[in-house]
């Protein structure tokens, strides 16, 4: 699935249908009247098997609640907190590396920020709109607008520090 919300406090709004939508064509504008529901999948913690770095898994798994938004702008507009968006691709190594870290961070900073992942291959128009090039790219949205932006993998502490710095500066 393309978009997932990793926050346990958001109530489930959509049905259990797991219909997928094909990626939108490049001329689909997210602000037009054409709407496509984004079905969000559950966030699961990937394990790398025996080759994973030894880090004790003391955190409970986070089940992302499924939510349907008419488009990405809707998600940004309706969020009560700043949103951290992770633009990723399935076969991007650092993106997969970041998955458990994002999970951990979304639990730690649950009340401060909402974490969303966008598969750039399924939603290329959104990736194009924000000029995504290298993966992973993280954008912190405040009030629906990009506030901070950085690329590449980082560890949990660095990510938390970056988020908190961005959140500290209020208008």
């Amino acid at each position: 699935m393309a978009v997932s919300v990793a926050a346990s406090s958001i109530p489930s709004l959509c049905s259990d249908r797991t219909t997928r939508l094909a990626s939108s064509s490049s001329n689909l504008s997210s602000s037009s009247s054409l709407q496509f529901p984004l079905h969000l999948r559950r966030l699961r913690i990937p394990t790398y098997g025996v080759s994973a770095p030894s880090r004790p898994r003391i955190l409970p798994p986070v089940e992302a609640k499924k939510q349907t938004f008419s488009n990405f702008d809707d998600l940004l507009a309706n969020s009560d907190r700043p949103v951290l968006v992770d633009f990723y691709a399935t076969w991007c190594g650092p993106c997969q590396f970041m998955a458990p870290i994002l999970n951990e961070v979304s639990i730690t900073l649950n009340d401060k920020i909402q974490v969303v992942k966008i598969d750039t291959e399924k939603y290329p128009s959104i990736a194009d709109k924000y000029g995504i090039q290298a993966l992973p790219t993280f954008i912190i949205f405040k009030d629906g607008k990009p506030y901070d932006r950085f690329e590449g993998a980082l560890n949990a502490d660095q990510l938390i520090e970056r988020i908190e710095t961005a959140l500290k500066v209020k208008q």
Partner: protein
């Protein structure tokens, strides 16, 4: 995603109508193509080992990262004919593959040993491990859940 009808040597059967008269032992599986071919994975695995040695770089401590990137390169090799960098977003993938800047080993890697995929890491890099080798088994295990 393309759907592929395959008759593999492994995999689950989706229909098994008991028919004592049927001699055929072929099993058909319909599989959505999200996995690169074994052949391409092996080619890119060999390439990665060879290039790491040649460039004096090392694989990531977390071999999962290495595995995912190798599969990503194999996937692009299958679909585009060239191992386009899997850690980038492109407007036009076939054009990029034809142009060549981002074909592995990409220009930033060749010129400055910069690999943002974390496939080839210089020894000073925090994430660099000790290995310049990776087995097909390691790749399979690390990416089993993707």
């Amino acid at each position: 995603m393309t759907l592929q009808l395959q008759a593999p040597s492994f995999g689950a059967t989706i229909s098994s109508l008991p028919s004592p008269l049927t001699r055929s032992t072929r099993r058909f599986v319909i599989r959505a193509q999200v996995e690169p071919t074994e052949k391409s994975v092996e080619i890119m695995r060999k390439f990665s080992e060879q290039y790491a040695r040649k460039s004096g770089t090392y694989f990531c401590v977390d071999k999962g990262v290495t595995s995912v990137v190798i599969k990503g390169l194999a996937d692009h090799k299958d679909s585009l004919g060239a191992p386009l960098c899997p850690c980038r977003h492109y407007d036009d993938k076939p054009a990029e593959a034809g142009q060549g800047f981002w074909n592995c080993p990409c220009v930033p890697m060749r010129e400055r040993k910069e690999c943002h995929c974390m496939l080839f890491l210089t020894p000073e890099n925090d994430f660099a491990g000790q290995d310049q080798t990776i087995t097909l088994e390691e790749i399979r295990e690390s990416t089993a859940n993707i």
